[in-house]
């Protein structure tokens, strides 16, 4: 993402002009755009024109529109952001107040105006425009009969393919069905890898599984690559890395990212950092429960007492529709920062962020023990 122009006054009112460059920037944009903001961008609009004779012509016109946002929709698979709203700047094609949905496109700049730019949003822009944070990797988490092919970027973990097949078990004297089923399963994974992994971008492909499935698969993969002359796999053989995981479910990705071998390769990427922070939190909960808080109320209380050392918070919370709600979370973040605490904003698309989301979305490691008499009865849904 590129920041083209920034025009924010001392009251934090103003607008920025941003240029998204890749899929991940859409995710950032998704986290920036809020309901009630104004968004200006180029878009295609179907325009009806009536000639003097009364015949109607419909043609598509590329035009620049400014809308007031009413609904935001993000498609994780396609990484497309659609923003719906009403036109607030009339032009020759579109009347005032007419509805329009802008699809944000890569490499086309847009202007985002807010009534109040808070610290979290500003930080998000900064992060998004930081070109050093790039570590794309692919991961295949698998077990017999189940595999997830994922792409991991700095802020997103995208499941590109979930392969689930039934493999007949071994039975007395009849192993052919088992072997056949297994080979079919591997073939499907290879297809998924070929289709979804772009080896120009991806630095590393992790293959993780319990037992020997990963070894067996790797062997089969290169065997097939040789047989079928899949050059792209042969050329990138060195990028494959075999890791142990306890199962083939998506949440095992957390274990994979914790593996020292992967840690070394990824060093300091957001995904790995988040996993570590969450791990620290659980460690603290085990060792000293009074220094590990979760759920909004207790954490808020701790923040007021200047007790928070590390705040873990999911970006999901900042996408809250309710402005007051959002302010509340931003306030916690600001308070913690003010008192020298560390704030980690988790991406809700990562596995660790997903788990934090399950854990009410906010957690904190405290500097000193605090009594905690809250009842943890809340249940979001």
């Amino acid at each position: 993402m590129k920041l083209v122009n920034r025009d924010i006054d001392k009251h934090n009112v103003g607008s920025v002009v941003l240029l998204p460059e890749e899929a991940e920037d859409m995710w950032h944009a998704y986290n920036l755009v809020g309901i009630g903001d104004t968004l200006r961008g180029t878009t295609i609009r179907k325009v009806q024109t009536q000639t003097a004779t009364g015949s109607v012509n419909v043609n598509k016109v590329r035009t620049t529109l400014t809308i007031q946002v009413e609904a935001i929709d993000f498609d994780t698979q396609g990484c497309v952001l659609r923003v719906k709203g009403r036109n607030i700047q009339e032009n020759q094609y579109v009347k005032m107040g007419a509805y329009h949905t802008i699809d944000l496109e890569p490499n086309r700049k847009f202007t985002l105006g807010k009534h109040e730019w808070d610290s979290v949003s500003l930080e998000r822009i900064e992060n998004a425009c930081d070109p050093t944070q790039h570590a794309d990797l692919a991961a295949v988490v698998m077990q017999e009969g189940l595999a997830h092919v994922c792409l991991i970027t700095a802020n997103m973990t995208l499941v590109r393919a979930k392969i689930e097949t039934h493999i007949p078990r071994k039975r007395k004297g009849q192993c052919q069905q088992h072997d056949k089923g297994l080979n079919r399963f591997y073939d499907q994974i290879i297809q998924a890898i070929l289709r979804h992994v772009n080896f120009d971008i991806v630095k590393c492909v992790l293959i993780a599984s319990p037992g020997f499935v990963k070894d067996q698969f790797a062997e089969y993969l290169f065997d097939q690559a040789f047989k079928m002359d899949l050059k792209i796999l042969m050329d990138n053989k060195s990028k494959f890395l075999l890791i142990h995981s306890s199962s083939g479910f998506k949440h095992s990705l957390k274990e994979v990212l914790q593996d020292p071998a992967v840690m070394a390769k990824l060093a300091d990427t957001k995904a790995a950092g988040e996993v570590k922070a969450l791990d620290d939190f659980f460690q603290m909960l085990q060792n000293d429960p009074d220094r590990a808080f979760y759920a909004v109320k207790p954490v808020e209380k701790a923040a007021e007492h200047q007790a928070v050392e590390v705040l873990l918070i999911s970006d999901e919370l900042f996408r809250a529709q309710d402005v007051a709600q959002r302010k509340r979370y931003v306030h916690i973040v600001d308070v913690v920062r003010e008192h020298g605490g560390d704030v980690k904003i988790f991406s809700s698309l990562h596995v660790s962020g997903e788990q934090l989301g399950q854990l009410s979305g906010v957690a904190a490691i405290l500097r000193f023990p605090m009594p905690d008499d809250e009842e943890y009865s809340g249940d979001e849904d």
């Binding site: 039934h166 007949p168 078990r169 071994k170 039975r171 007395k172 004297g173 192993c175 069905q177 088992h178 072997d179 319990p210 037992g211 020997f212 067996q216 142990h244 306890s246 199962s247 479910f249 998506k250 949440h251 274990e255 659980f282 460690q283 909960l285 085990q286 429960p289 979760y294 788990q355 934090l356 989301g357 399950q358 854990l359 009410s360 905690d372 809250e374 009842e375 943890y376 009865s377 249940d379």
Partner: protein, 721 residues
């Protein structure tokens, strides 16, 4: 609309009660018929199914009762009573029987009042009144007799007394138009009847009427009610209603054209209990799982045992020996008996459960050889969940026993798992005694350490036994110890004797049928095969079952046990069943084949009581776990910590705790990604247990207490399937 006419004139009787009928579940599946047409012209079987749920467990042994045709007569009498001469109860009943018989033969060619008249004239004698009527007028032969009869049956009960019509003739026409009547109507009208029972004959009838209400849906849901009714005249009359004369009925039976299908199925049902008893008198069935740390020698021990028992022929064994020597793993020859996949053999590690059978003097044993490697514990859990008793194999070699036994070793984890999965008795085979020169001190040491641990885990002292042996040399497996170094101090039982000494296990064969699918594969011939252990109830060839959670119907075409076809199977049996009636893709591991009238519970969220083991990280809300239950492993999330319990007393110590730490006990709510078949612990003990694992470690064992949420099919489709 000739297509519709086809439907209307279709002979449902034959189609419905054919074994592999395709019309059985739904007409719309196969033909493009509009729903309106369906409801107009077809018999609404779905509604009938639903009704049986209301009945709950109270299944009435209808098979031998229902053939008494009087059950249909009673309500008829009620509904047409006004147009009849006043009779006493006995005569009334006679009249009904007679009328029913006449109707069966004549259909509706005569108005009812004519029939009543004739019957009374002939003193309720069926044949003579028939003669009279038929001679009166050359009546046209009833053309669609089965269908008419059917209509009679359905029309018989739904008439509430309130709707009585003074003139019997319009009543006939009325019933003609009433093409479809659901069983729900039957029920409501009948209960209405029973509540209104005020006049004297009605009082007695009311009770019988309500009993019909219960049997009826059952008959229909079995899809063979009508068949039984007619074609089993030779069956003993068990109906106790003394008022009903039985004699005319026999006449009527002979005059009814026999239907091709016999009621063999119902007869067999009666025998099931007997059959089971008979089998019990023979050898008791035991499901035995072999567990232990990796490389303890489980497969080799069992392979050698099978060889000594003669279950593996010499030629095969020789082949294994040759081949294993070729790849330089001659010590694995016996393990190859059970480890059959290439991968397992080349790595020398069991990866999946191997299943085989052998016999001891008093027991029929189904052997499940579990993998010992840490990564294959999911498979081990699958095996242990299907077993009644277990053999825990420990390696006596110096250092090896210790690695298996220390925390993180599988000896410890397996013992804990097996206890939590309901394995009540355990043999501890102290294996590889040859490597420690059969030293008694070593054996005693292991016995002491392990005994203490097992007691901690929760085994009673009388429920576990130690046997020293060697899998490789085959010492003390089937024959008493020959090795002088062993026999000098050990005089106890051999492994096989000890297996023979296992106490038999009681099984719940009277509960509704349940089988958790362990494997699905294409078999020979028609349909496909599934394997699994029957958890409860019994099954026989030709039974119609329900596959949950997809709720599809299926017909059991064949049951194989140990490659041999058997007519019936009972709880505890490991069987392979051939299934027809639905597609192979609709059945998956972990699905449950169950009784149609009593389907298994399906849940996406449950409340459970869990016992938490050693944990690296405390369990909080939103903790992601892997849920191991029977044959499935599913990702799940602990959505809520309801309360923390006192481990020994079970009292609530803390409501909504912040987190659960190790060695505690708690009530939690667990949510799954998709609906899962399960049963409550209080209903089915072994189907109510599950294990939770996270990060490759078993963190908790639990019992299902309550089903909280069931996603409907639509909701599920809306989310992602």
């Amino acid at each position: 609309m000739s297509r519709h006419r086809n439907v209307r004139t279709m002979n449902y009787e034959e189609d419905f009660f054919d074994d592999d009928d395709v019309y059985g579940h739904s007409v719309e599946d196969n033909y493009c018929i509009s729903p309106g047409t369906v409801s107009q012209f077809t018999f609404n079987r779905d509604a009938q199914h639903d009704l049986t749920h209301y009945m709950g467990e109270s299944r009435i042994p209808e098979e031998d009762n229902e053939d008494d045709s009087d059950e249909d007569v009673e309500p008829l009498n009620d509904s047409s009573g006004c147009g009849r001469p006043k009779l006493n109860a006995v005569d009334d009943a006679k009249l009904n029987t007679c009328l029913e018989g006449m109707r069966n033969i004549l259909g509706e060619t005569f108005p009812e009042h004519v029939m009543v008249e004739t019957a009374v004239k002939n003193n309720f004698d069926l044949s003579s009144s028939l003669n009279q009527l038929l001679s009166q007028q050359d009546a046209p032969k009833p053309q669609r007799q089965p269908r008419e009869k059917r209509r009679n049956r359905s029309e018989a009960s739904p008439k509430p007394p309130v709707m009585l019509l003074k003139d019997p003739v319009p009543r006939q026409t009325k019933s003609d138009t009433q093409a479809v009547s659901t069983a729900a109507d039957d029920l409501s009208s009948l209960s209405l009847q029973s509540s209104e029972g005020s006049n004297t004959p009605a009082a007695s009838k009311a009770s019988s009427a309500s009993s019909i209400a219960i049997t009826k849906p059952d008959i229909l849901s079995n899809g063979m009610g009508a068949v039984d009714e007619i074609s089993s005249p030779d069956k003993p009359e068990t109906q106790t209603d003394s008022v009903v004369p039985q004699t005319p009925k026999k006449d009527q039976m002979t005059s009814v054209p026999p239907l091709p299908r016999s009621s063999s199925k119902t007869k067999e049902k009666l025998n099931l209990q007997k059959e089971y008893e008979k089998r019990r008198e023979g050898k008791d069935l035991l499901n035995l799982v072999v567990i232990g740390h990796v490389d303890a020698g489980k497969s080799t021990l069992m392979g050698h045992l099978l060889y000594q028992l003669g279950n593996v022929n010499r030629k095969m064994m020789h082949k294994y020996e040759q081949e294993s020597r070729k790849v330089g793993k001659s010590s694995f020859a016996f393990a190859w008996v059970l480890d059959e996949t290439e991968e397992e053999r080349s790595r020398g590690v069991t990866m999946d459960i191997a299943q085989t059978r052998f016999e001891t003097p008093h027991r029929l044993v189904t052997l499940l050889d579990a993998p010992g490697h840490k990564d294959f514990i999911p498979n081990m859990i699958t095996g242990a969940a299907q077993a009644d008793v277990g053999i825990l194999v420990v390696n006596a070699t110096k250092g090896e026993f210790e690695t298996g036994f220390e925390s993180g070793g599988q000896t410890r984890e397996h013992a804990l798992l097996s206890r939590s999965l309901g394995i009540s008795q355990l043999i501890i085979a102290v294996n590889k005694m040859d490597t420690v020169d059969w030293a008694q001190e070593r054996y005693d040491d292991i016995v002491k350490k392990l005994g203490q641990f097992l007691k901690q885990v929760g085994y009673k002292e009388a429920d576990f036994f130690f046997v020293p042996c060697s899998g490789l040399s085959g010492e003390n497996l089937t024959q008493c110890a020959k090795e002088p170094k062993l026999s000098s101090w050990y005089t106890g039982t051999t492994l096989v004797q000890q297996i023979d000494n296992f106490k038999p296990v009681t099984r719940s064969i009277d509960k509704p049928f349940r089988l958790t699918v362990a494997d699905v594969f294409k078999g020979m011939g028609s349909g496909f095969s599934i394997t699994g252990r029957i958890n409860a109830g019994s099954v026989q060839n030709g039974d119609r079952m329900c596959v949950m959670p997809s709720a599809d119907n299926a017909v059991i075409k064949g049951i194989l046990q140990d490659e041999m076809p058997i007519p019936y199977a009972f709880a505890g049996d490991h069987v392979t069943m051939t299934i027809t009636g639905l597609d192979i893709t609709k059945v998956n591991m972990g699905n449950v084949i169950c009784d149609m009238t009593n389907p298994v519970k399906v849940a996406t969220r449950i409340r459970a009581r869990v016992v938490i083991f050693n944990l690296k990280m405390p369990i909080t809300r939103g903790f992601m776990v892997v849920y191991h239950y029977q044959t499935i492993t599913e990702p799940a999330i602990i959505k809520r910590l309801v309360s923390q319990l006192n481990r020994s007393t079970g009292e609530v110590t803390h409501n909504h705790p912040k987190c659960l730490t190790k060695n505690s006990s708690a009530v939690v709510e667990i949510e799954f990604e998709r609906p899962i078949c399960l049963e409550l612990y209080k209903d089915y003990k072994d189907l109510g247990r599950f294990m939770l694992r996270a990060g490759g470690v078993t963190i908790a064992a639990g019992m299902i207490e309550e089903v909280l949420k069931v996603k409907t099919k639509d909701e599920q489709a809306a989310t992602n399937y």
